[in-house]
Symmetry: C2
């Protein structure tokens, strides 16, 4: 038993929202919890901040302990602090997000028994999540929905050479709705930032689609209008 | 004496970074602290989050108690959580910012004895600030420096009709450096989003300058390029 300084009875946690695109599906990284509260539930990788680490350091440690992933640049995007968000008391959760292009990935392997396992799960078929994690995830989704409207994010998620169908998939998955193919193609090509390649898609049995590249220089010229002195 | 749940011995605070432009100077809202630690120091308006309020509610309450200001939309921008940022223990501070056009303002009047007074202070001549508040303020400044490169922020801070000299002032103050007058005018006019008015500046004794208006519709057409479906 220790005396409490008034006000010093909150905890601070980290939650990591990692989005991944594997060429077909938008996924999110979840863990299956092995500890109360919410034992056996699916949750965002998250845990309490320790005394001897900053919140930024904590985010890296927790992601590694619960999923095995390290050296991933995550951006802090919001602190969630509703009164009843945690059953054990006031816990403010600082949320971080990152967007990854999946494929040939490092295996997921929790180093701590706090997580039974870590797994990429389709955003389209999520299980019920622990705590207010659905809310934290929704705010992360809003963030990438806003970012994708300014183009480059979509191309960060795609391979270097891609088909227009793949571009449309990324938009549909992040915006959460089906888009009309003809209108989509017309619009995306109207920005004149996709470079059509001579190459066609390989390994498909039927009508190989044309491949495109994102022309970052042209994008910057057209959209990167900034006042810089 | 109460038993502590492990991990539940952090405190969470709010710090408010309010920028204001009065037509000439870029200012920041500070309080003079009346409590330890850092009694008698200048600081950002900030205090600990209470048990029965969310962090967002807390930001509004604290701003009002320490400065008398209410109903100001503030945006959360970062949670500061370095290990040694507070002498009394681990305190994670959630920072909020807002940009205000000053003039004919509501008077500043702390409602709580926690602040001796509240005052708009020139960013160019800041006193030494309590805690890591200079760092919190710097990160807020970085945020508005990035935002001003996309134009509209500057015009949110200016009156509806303004001179080119005033526009240049806003840029110089936020970017923290002097700009060449001729180059600045050429550049800012090249974006073609300023509408020259028939009117001239009034109440000046010598060579009244032409007034301009920001053409939001034209801006959106030129710069607001977004993919929307």
């Amino acid at each position: 038993m220790t005396e409490i300084t008034p006000g010093f009875d909150f905890a601070v946690s980290i939650d990591c929202v990692l989005f991944g695109f594997d060429g077909t599906e938008l996924k999110i990284l979840l863990i299956e919890r092995n500890e109360e509260p919410f034992k056996d539930w699916w949750a965002l990788p998250g845990n309490l901040v320790d005394h001897d680490e900053s919140v930024d350091q904590s985010a890296q440690r927790i992601l590694k302990e619960l999923t095995g992933l390290s050296d991933i640049y995550m951006e802090q995007y919001y602190a969630f602090g509703d009164v009843n968000r945690h059953p054990q008391g006031r816990v403010i959760s600082v949320a971080y997000y990152a967007m990854l292009r999946l494929g040939g990935d490092k295996p997921l392997k929790p180093l701590s028994s706090y997580a039974k396992k870590a797994q990429w799960v389709n955003v389209a078929s999520l299980p019920k999540l622990a705590f207010d994690h659905q809310n934290i995830l929704n705010k992360g989704l809003e963030k990438i929905k806003r970012r994708i409207k300014h183009l480059p994010l979509a191309f960060e998620l795609l391979p270097e050479k891609f088909t227009l169908t793949q571009v449309q998939s990324v938009y549909e998955l992040i915006l959460g709705k089906k888009l009309d193919k003809r209108n989509f193609r017309k619009k995306i090509l109207s920005f004149k930032v996709l470079k059509e390649l001579e190459e066609k898609q390989r390994g498909v049995s039927f009508r190989a689609a044309t491949l495109y590249k994102f022309d970052k220089r042209k994008y910057n010229k057209l959209f990167g209008k900034e006042i810089s002195f």
